[in-house]
Amino acid sequence: MKKWMLLTAFALLLIAPQIAYSMHIMEGFLPLKWCIIWDAASLPFVVVGLITINKKVKENPKLKMLLGFAGAFAFVLSALKIPSVTGSCSHPTGVGLGAILFGPFAMSVLGLIVLLFQALLLAHGGITTLGANTFSMAIVGPIASYYIFKGIKKAGGPNWLAVFLAASIGDLLTYVTTSFQLAIAFPAEVGGFTASFLKFMGIFAVTQVPLAISEGLLTVLVINMLSAYSKEELIELNVLEEEGKVV
């Protein structure tokens, strides 16, 4: 009898929901309708991402290692939960680097892998919210990063500024998207979507500001190192011109 009670208590401890620290939308915290909508919205981007990656790697198999590097960068940064000025913690995304290197869609696949790892092993984010989290971190963030990088380069801005703003604004927009996703699913009774959006922005986006700056600085550091040691690959990917200037 006693054994049974102990076992039950143990099982309950395992099953009981614990405080899961996650900066993505938590498992089960998005109504089913929105889970399906965001799954559907993410799917085409992931397919295009797979095609892009296949094409780039087929053209030049040597790029596989650099692709792994971009994935590893996102893996490290999204594991680091960093304190912020709001007194909360959040983590950077690390997807801006891959977007600068491999274009706007490749990171949809790598970001999805990172999110899947965290959802399954860390109860961080979730399977039901995978589509929504992929959309914010692996689609909106990288696309923003890519076009900010290209835009600043086109306008004649310096390389470090293009990389810095691409990575940090991409990071920030990820969490603006998270706030949007939560607000549209949970509009406030008074003030509706806007009131909710501002509330979630206050939680996610404001916390993210110093982290976004950190991610921007780290991405500049990594691009510096890659331009010094991995020039061939960067030229191959049209990130660097022949003479060594970041395009």
Binding site: S22, M26, A72, V76, P83, L120, F204, Y229, K231, E233
Partner: protein
């Protein structure tokens, strides 16, 4: 000389990141530094009192320690590969010289 400048630049970038991380720890007193998700959960409860999460994580790390272990593992795997790649391409560059 060029190498020295390169190193300095990267060191300064790293130092700035460390400062950004330490700043809130030193300046904000009595902060919990909980995850933003916890506060999001509270915010959802305020907006919709009746909302119940309809799905639980399939598996959760049984304790905060185990969660830290897995997060550390994630960072270690990633950092290992980053170091491997930089070492590889640096070696390749030196060999070509």
């Amino acid at each position: 000389m060029k190498d020295k400048k390169f190193l300095m630049k990267n060191l300064i970038l790293g130092l700035l990141v460390i400062l950004l991380i330490v700043f809130p720890l030193v300046t904000i007193k009595n902060a919990e530094f909980a995850g933003t998700d916890d506060r999001a959960t509270e915010a959802i409860a305020q907006v919709d009192k009746n909302y119940k999460p309809w799905f639980e994580p399939i598996w959760e790390p049984p304790s905060g320690e185990i969660a830290s272990l897995l997060f550390a593992l994630q960072a270690a795997i990633g950092a290992g590969f980053l170091g491997y790649y930089i070492g590889l391409v640096k070696g390749r560059k030196n060999a070509n010289r």
